[in-house]
């Protein structure tokens, strides 16, 4: 049984690591400010999420697991808030998004 949990936990940890690397590669490859943020959000959802699940499986039913889940909850609430703040600051300061299509017509610009 513990071997099974170990395997599941390592699968989660390795997959989370892979998604973190993918997010970082995307951060470097994307052409502009806004698209880069999309790549970064892969890292802090699937990447961090899978790693936390893997660590919770390693910790077992202890207080450490609860703390890891609380860290997950913290990321779950703060990362979209920070991303939104960043995007809005960018738009307000006039960073023009590189667009294939703009369907936001009756706006102020």
């Amino acid at each position: 049984m513990s071997v099974l949990i170990d395997i599941a936990s390592w699968v989660c940890l390795v997959a989370g690591g892979i998604f973190c690397v993918i997010g970082t590669v995307g951060l470097l490859r994307m052409p502009d400010f806004y698209t880069r943020m999309h790549a970064a959000s892969v890292t802090d959802t699937l990447g961090a999420g899978l790693m936390l699940i893997g660590l919770v499986l390693q910790a077992g039913p202890t207080l450490v697991a609860v703390k890891l889940l609380i860290i997950g909850l913290l990321i779950f609430f703060t990362s979209p808030t920070a991303t939104h703040a960043l995007a809005k600051a960018g738009l307000t300061r006039g960073v023009k998004p590189l667009l294939a299509e703009d369907r936001s017509q009756p706006s102020k610009r």
Partner: protein
């Protein structure tokens, strides 16, 4: 009502983080939970926005759905990143919001941002300006499935 449940939640939070179960320390923890809520009350933060208990049980139907969506779109974005041609078509769209309370709109905007491939850039009255990584992502958002889910989660209508 809000104060009582805030105290309980804060005390449970303290207990889980500290891991102390001796009588003296638990009393101290309970006292600090009550103290924090009293201070928050003076700052007029103890209300349905600071502590939305009305939403609490529906979380267990909404979050699993949201996690599924996040996993799906994170997978899509990962495939776009790995694809050597980088097939992106960034699009700005305006998504309608049908939520009635500010908590509902915030939940919707945060859910949009949390899903890789879409970022809510600006929240206006009745709509959210969304930057999507691909045209398909923007279209699937405009179908409004997430909007309906959040409105059901909000549970006012």
């Amino acid at each position: 009502m809000y104060a009582l449940s805030s105290i309980l939640v804060l005390f449970a939070f303290w207990l889980l983080l500290s891991g102390y179960f001796t009588v003296f320390l638990m009393t101290a923890g309970a006292a600090s939970a009550i103290g924090v809520v009293l201070l928050a009350r003076r700052m007029e933060l103890v209300d349905h926005e600071g502590h939305p208990i009305r939403l609490s049980w529906r979380v267990f139907t909404y979050w699993p759905w949201l996690f599924k969506e996040i996993a799906k779109s994170a997978w899509d974005v990962s495939r776009i990143i790995i694809n050597p041609r980088l097939p992106i078509s960034p699009t700005l769209v305006r998504a309608r919001t049908s939520q009635k309370s500010t908590v509902g709109v915030v939940t919707y905007a945060n859910s949009i941002t949390l899903t890789p491939g879409t970022i809510s850039v600006e929240v206006r009255r009745g709509e959210i300006l969304v930057h999507a990584l691909t045209r398909e992502g923007a279209d699937s958002l405009l179908e409004g499935e997430m909007d309906r889910q959040v409105t059901r989660f909000e549970g006012l209508s």
